[in-house]
Symmetry: C2
Subunit: 198 residues, 2 copies
Amino acid sequence: MSKKIVTITRQYASGGREIGMKLAEKIGAEFCDKKLLEEAAKSSGIHQSHFEENDEKRTSSFLYLLSTTYGQSGVPFDDTLFFAQLNAIQKIASQQSCVIIGRCADYALRDFENVAHILISAPEEWRVKRAVEVYGIEEKHAKDYVKRIDKQRIAYYNYYTDKRWGVPQNYHLCVDSSALGIDGTVNLLKTFLDEFYS
Amino acid sequence: MSKKIVTITRQYASGGREIGMKLAEKIGAEFCDKKLLEEAAKSSGIHQSHFEENDEKRTSSFLYLLSTTYGQSGVPFDDTLFFAQLNAIQKIASQQSCVIIGRCADYALRDFENVAHILISAPEEWRVKRAVEVYGIEEKHAKDYVKRIDKQRIAYYNYYTDKRWGVPQNYHLCVDSSALGIDGTVNLLKTFLDEFYS
């Protein structure tokens, strides 16, 4: 049986992470979220805290750019982190079935064959409610927070890849997770993958 | 049992029409493609040929604008056609289960409840091949033709609605029809709708 490799791009609080976790279990694949950061830290020798601090966000602050640590190669530190993560994604995907969440994984695996690319989105009001209920974000700040995390991820993706975030033509399937709920979406994706890998 | 109303927005030669036709049969709904134009012509008293000539396209030609026929109300003729079509879509959807192809149907039914909005896309090379094989477009012109029809439809949608064409957040499900093929996509959509309307 061939490996099953799935990338999940998600809007914040759309349930993409939970969907990915349940889907990985259903299809017998490794769930890769923070695990990617561990693998990138291990391979690169850079402390994991740096990957966590810069996870799927970039800063355009001029002061930050001035103070950016350059390695011996002259590559800015945040680019070094990105490339280490790219390598980690490619290493994991070449070894085993996996469901990879975010981190430009669809771009990292663009030259891999038989990878299923999924986007999970949901209406803003549904995600704001979920941010409060599931992630414990304070209600009065939840809407701004949801918007900000989305913007960070989109800016990160658009900066590091040659594609635009969230264009449906970049994915095999885009699902509004509010339509069927978390478990319903997992079941639909399982149906899709059974056929995709048949 | 409640009505099942499905809108399908599609890229040219992605198979959206064929998928919609087969899906309509599977869920016991009326398939509405050119039928919309008949209904719009009947209700408005405008000859059907005008709807066919202006189907999902608009012109920005200055000469066309100068020569545009204005009705008694002062509404440009192409806007009159659009509104007649909008009315036809709303009339059909209020009467019966239906699968409606293109024509800004997702926008026309934005205030209707329990409508499933689907987008069908596919990689350009897949659609170009299909344009030649299924629609008989001359091979040397097929790529340009596919691009042009897409551009026409996108311009039409973006002009007449307050949304942007092809933003995944506007749809419950976006499917790349090349991933599972026409019949595989129909089956996936059937699975989705069974759960959506359960």
